[in-house]
Symmetry: D5
């Protein structure tokens, strides 16, 4: 995934340690195992911004890039966290991938990063 | 935003450290980026009053002032906190802006202030 | 408000520090500012009884006394706490007043008392 | 309200008598009586298209035009029906305005048009 | 109940046979049998206006008049219908009183009037 | 079941054909087959009164009489209808017994009576 | 499926044309196509009894017999209707099979029988 | 869209006029107007089968084919109906496309076909 | 209440400190004050078993014994805890009695026991 | 239960201590006491993976193996934890069995394992 598509805007209120929660209920990618069958998830990103805020339209395009990519649930959730970590360098970030039921089984993956000095 | 519109009433029960939670589901402003398209949010203000309580009708007029102003989600939520902080000098205050979905993405901004000696 | 209307029954299980939660969804009083217009709230009382339990029918009559009294949201919630504190002398008590929407704004007031030695 | 802002697209499936239901939960206008205080509603438009479909972005701009206009609940709901009737000439149309609570009272207005020969 | 308190406004759209539904969730009166104990209900009024619309603030004051009156569930629901019938002369009107649970039993009363020639 | 316990009050509004719906969520009786094990149901009575209204407290006592009686779901629902039919002589009456799950199976019984000339 | 397992009890109230609705949320069988993978459904049976009522425990055992049988959604729903039709000879019967999601797709099958002379 | 991907199985119960309702909450296609931005919908297909039942896995693949196709809401809903009509020749069929909110506006499209002699 | 009716089974997994939560929504007893009027509650028992598990059918019979006993809300909830404490000697136990609304007031009683060395 | 059916895939992100939550709402087994009557549950597995992730299809087959096995609620929940512990050696794991109501009583069993050095 090319992270250059992710744009940021300066956080004018960076003296306060506040929180932004973004929910994207229309995430879709392809399952590596099952002949390109699609998977669907709601991705929730919660972060405490430091110097930068994510620009929402660029985040939408970034998440849209997974549409035709083959990737596992656990891997996709971790990669979204890693990419945002590089771009935003936030005080805190959590990514939750809440994946639709497959074969009668539902999966939720939760990944979290906590900056040491916070 | 002119904060003089915000009126207060004395907190007769200021010996107790109690909490007031105010929910305003009809907040609207304009998006700076998209040719004056409107944004909608539910603003929730939770505070532990010290000497002053916010007068509710004046709060309604204050929030109504954002109706034709261009402002980002993060900025609006932070500014409401700063304005109420100046006027109320509360023991604690949190402002949550829960913004309606745009481009398939929903955003919630949470800003908090905790008086040191509380 | 005359607190003599509040009756108690002995707490036979006072060796255990347990909790009673009472919800009264039919509370109504009058608004001091708006020409006697009625206000409506759900009052929730949570307490850890010591020697006494509140008798429920007397509590109903006590809350019914606010029906034609002019009182602010914050004041009513605090007064119910103070009155029950005097009558029950509980280990802990919290009163939450969840007031109906007025002018597009909803208010919840939470007051708490914690006995030191608990 | 200038209806020229409403654009249409041809209904390629006009041999079938089918139905389109559009829900706009972010409608806001001003109350004529109360010193320009805002009103909020969810507008639901259900129509059976004949030759034309409403173009959704133009409908959004049309509804956005009410933002700073003073108008009663009943009048706004009827006017939206009349304007769409002129522009779309549908086989059937219903407009429902579901207005937020004011003074403890909620109002829903339902207006319907049925072409005779349907 | 004095019906002169009920005000009307002209129905500018009286050529269409449309519907207005008004929900008042804060209705309260007194029970005739039980030593002035209060009863609570949600009153829903649905009508097809002819020449007149009910003015909402006056309806609020009218319903508020029941606050300290002793009246049965069935009687109150019927009386609201009769009073609005006299004042509005609508094409159709239905009044539903949805009364809070008493003694483990909940009651809903539905009264309807249909003008013959509609 | 002794129906003399059921009291009525005169229907002052008997010129209108209106409806009263009574829900009793605390109905319990005993199962004939299973060594006196209790059954639980919500009983809903909908009727169009003619000359008489059911007095609610007497209905509560009547329903309470089933508490220690052995009776099948279908029989209990039918008997409540028959008893109210005798006492109220209504224009219409429906009794619905919504019985709690037993052995992974839930049962609802609906019995209706429609006066011919209505 | 052997229908002799289904027992009946006489309908003592067969002069009234009433309705019994039975919901069995714990139905499971095996999918013919997918290597004996289990399917799960909620089966709802609504019938107007004539001379006979279904005995509920025997119905539970009957439905339990599908547990290790391979059968399609449409076939299972139709067969339950046919079997109950033979045993109960009701005035009316409907069987709804509400099957759990498989491959991102949910299926509901509704089969109905209406006796002519009803 | 190539309809040969749609497979059928014989309807063994075709003497009964019954109904099958299929819900596919994971439908996605591309918006023709907005630079290939994705649209999301829940597609609900209700049909009364005649000689043929739709095979569910093939329906899943058929719906998956829209993933990277540019198509309007109204057109996609109508085309699914036309394709199933050709393949199934059912007694009745309805297709409902319930599309996710875009620009603060939600759209539902309902198309129906009723065989004459049904 | 005779606790000998309560049977236990050995806890085969007693090396792990795990939790069992039992919900009984069909609890009923009689109110001491109001001429034998019934009270209804949902009883929730949460416990961390030590050597013994409660046998569920015997618990059902034990709770059924309250059916015709006069007892206060607080007393019944405490007594269930005491009886289970004697029989199970668990590492932890909590009993919550969630009582149905009476006179417009709802009551929940929560009693907890924590073994010291846990 | 043969645990060799459980397959794993390597956890590529094992430097982060993250969480996977798997919900299987279609678990069924047989009750040891009641003549092979089926029990139904929702099994929720929450774990913090170390070197291995559970392969979801193999988990589905593993859970399916309980279908015709006689086992108590507490035993089944503990055994699923023990089996996954052996196969995954996770940093943390919790298994919750939420069992359907039987005899008016619902049971939830929660078992947890916490690696010391986490």
């Amino acid at each position: 995934m090319d992270i250059e598509i992710l744009e940021t805007i300066p956080n004018e209120n960076n003296k306060r340690d506040y929180e932004v929660e973004i929910t994207a209920p229309e995430f879709t990618c392809l399952c590596p195992d099952k002949r390109d069958q699609p998977d669907f998830a709601t991705i929730t990103i919660t972060y405490a911004p430091h110097k930068k805020l994510i620009e929402l339209k660029s985040l939408k395009y970034y998440l849209g890039r997974y549409r035709n990519e083959e990737i596992y649930h656990e891997e996709a959730t971790n990669r979204i966290l890693e990419d945002l970590l590089k771009v935003l360098k936030p005080r805190y970030i959590k990514v939750v991938g809440d994946w639709n039921i497959r074969g009668g089984i539902k999966t939720v993956v939760k990944v979290e990063y906590q900056k040491n000095e916070r």
